[in-house]
Symmetry: C2
Subunit: 389 residues, 2 copies
């Protein structure tokens, strides 16, 4: 990461961390500020950050290098994507990072966040900085002034990433403009596309499974069964729930009738095939008891590794993540309150992405029927509430 | 499109046209140069293009406006994506375009191609310009000099797209750097991601179905049957075919065993679930005669609209296009000679994309077994050769 303080670096870094780890990469995020707070104590005045403060400059470089050492050590142990979250505002610091990455054969991508809008910066400071341990027990006004002074210290030597620094992407004014250079490779280019969609938002996301279906009642998996009377009742309760909270919800469902019928009382919905339930292949329409009796090896294999197990002629959870990736990109792009009516496996996977769960935990997450999971954006993630209707 | 002559505008425009129409949008490409050649004659010297040539300036503006009129008329008739291929190098020209689009409620996206590398520009002129009708019967050296003079005329008044011109994307040095600004909406952001992958290349693409499978012999569709002896023979012939042409082929297959086995003699392959055959749902493993007998309504529906028909619990060709979109992006990104071993429906769809076929023609394209379709890049598309092995 590159950028002055209060430009949304950590917001972007945490989004990238969740996205990339959800895609299955071993991912580590390190924040140099955490090293400083742990080693020098949180409460340092703005002057501590002055580039010409010879008393602190060496110490601050030491924290940055300690974090970089840890990150590179972790790459040696099999890490795949490391996120180095710090201002890295000086060219000489970035040269060190680039050279050390090159020596470790780790390709780098500078992600620079640029914002010159004082309104956005001030709001960022108030929302994300005044609550830092750095300002514990200090009044908001004093803290605000100190943080502005800290930014000014960094600004004295800040040099935006230059064209000869290799791969970079610059996010200007919270994504209004995006400049990418020499971005190569599958993951990097996917990442740039993802970053083009990411913008701060405060709209909630509601996740739910469809209402009870006739297959639920008899314990059969897959299929395309209609709702029961109980399921239809949930559809009405769900519509009231959403309408009580917003008049402008965007509603996505799968293409299966139990999901479409669950959203139907809300009117216009968009049906995505990518939101269809995990394809159980030859096991579609069976009960778990039938699978256990007819295909004991498959039943045991699934119990052994529910994440990687692929139903014969069907899908694994890993396959579901692949096909949900475009949904995630659209979800980040969408700015309105969003209701997603899906199925057990797909909602587990979407929830796993939003809440930053490791891939292999996804198949074990609890997503009961007739429950709305409400996720409201916080500083760097989501706050969860569940409503059983 | 925006950019000086010989900067690859038409190359990019035609790629966009194929991609967007393959995604199902009604797409039109108009080239102002074609209007000029049709109305004023092809053979105009460089001086004709001088911005201060008062004798020709009005005429040239007339051609540009005629092309724009036609494009906007077509939007009124239901067109969805129009590509206006011209230099549009002057700010005042772009202001007219932007205002006329706004008046017609058509959102615009300027796509500017920028290149300052004389080696690339000269190669572009030699490859794409000397064969234009503009230079019929004129020696290469003279034509080259004239085209350079024409570029110089445009360069006199060229102003790159500025930040207050709304949505734009700039492709610098054939995609090495990409700058996008105020790109909003699903299609525009997908397009920018696509443009990040697109670069001129001369590597061939080979498309083939898997070798004959045991299901092919008995006329059953879908399934995951192994190869016959005849199919295994094709796998060996295919490996020899590819090895005779390159030592560095990248090989993609579906995850079905008949495709993997067909590519196996080539060693390392990447298996994509997105390349799996169209899912025939409840019809998997049936013959067409059985489908006709057991599900006469479905059989008739499929015959009536083979593109939109979705097998019960399975897929339509439209669904297959959706799931192949990431493959297309990777295909544009991949720079090595590429062999794709797929299945009838997926190869039809990939071939349709590469050869610019309308979506609804895809289900009817001829892709026989044991035939390699070789596609070699040309100026703005591909040249096709077929090899029955």
């Amino acid at each position: 990461m590159v950028g002055l303080p209060a430009r949304g670096k950590t917001f972007v870094a945490r989004k990238v961390q969740r996205y990339v780890s959800w895609l299955g990469y071993r991912t580590l995020w390190v924040n140099v500020g955490d090293y400083r707070r742990a080693r020098a104590g949180a409460k340092q005045p703005a002057g501590y950050f002055a580039p010409d403060n010879t008393a602190t400059r060496g110490e601050r470089e030491g924290f940055a290098m300690a974090a970089l050492d840890d990150l590179l050590d972790w790459f040696e142990k099999g890490g795949e994507v490391g996120i180095y979250d710090a201002t890295n505002a000086e060219r000489c610091r970035r040269d060190i990072i680039r050279n050390r990455c090159a020596a470790a054969a780790v390709p780098h991508l500078f992600v620079e966040t640029i914002c010159d809008d004082p309104g956005i910066i001030d709001a960022n400071i108030r929302r994300n900085k005044l609550g830092l341990p750095d300002y514990a027990g200090i009044g908001a006004k004093e803290a605000f002034g100190d943080f502005q002074a800290r930014i000014a210290q960094y600004a004295r030597t800040y040099v935006p990433v230059e064209d000869d620094e290799g791969s970079y992407v610059k996010l200007v004014d919270a994504g209004k403009r995006v400049i990418s250079s020499r971005v190569e490779g599958y993951l990097s280019s996917r990442l740039v596309f993802f970053l083009m969609q990411v913008r701060p938002t405060d709209r909630p996301i509601w996740l739910t499974r469809h209402g009870e279906s006739e297959f639920n009642v008899v314990g059969r998996i897959g299929g395309d069964a209609p709702l029961t009377a109980h399921g239809k009742e949930y559809a009405e309760l769900l519509a009231s729930f959403v309408r009580a909270r917003t008049a402008h919800a965007v509603v996505w469902t799968s293409t299966l009738q139990r999901a479409i019928a669950t959203a139907a009382p809300l009117g216009h919905v968009q049906a995505w095939r990518a939101l269809d339930e995990i394809d159980a292949g030859v096991c579609e329409g069976l009960t778990y008891d039938e699978i256990k009796a007819q295909m004991p090896d498959d039943f045991a294999a699934r119990a052994g590794d529910k994440f990687r197990y692929r139903y014969p002629r069907g899908e694994s959870y890993a396959d579901v993540i692949q096909r949900l990736e475009p949904v995630i990109v659209e979800l980040e792009h969408e700015r309105s309150p969003l209701l997603i009516v899906g199925h057990q496996a797909v909602i587990r996977v979407l929830y796993g992405y939003l809440m930053g769960k490791p891939q292999d935990e996804c198949p074990h997450l609890q997503i009961p029927l007739h429950t709305v999971v409400q996720l409201t954006p916080t500083e760097f993630g989501y706050q969860e509430e569940r409503f059983a209707l």
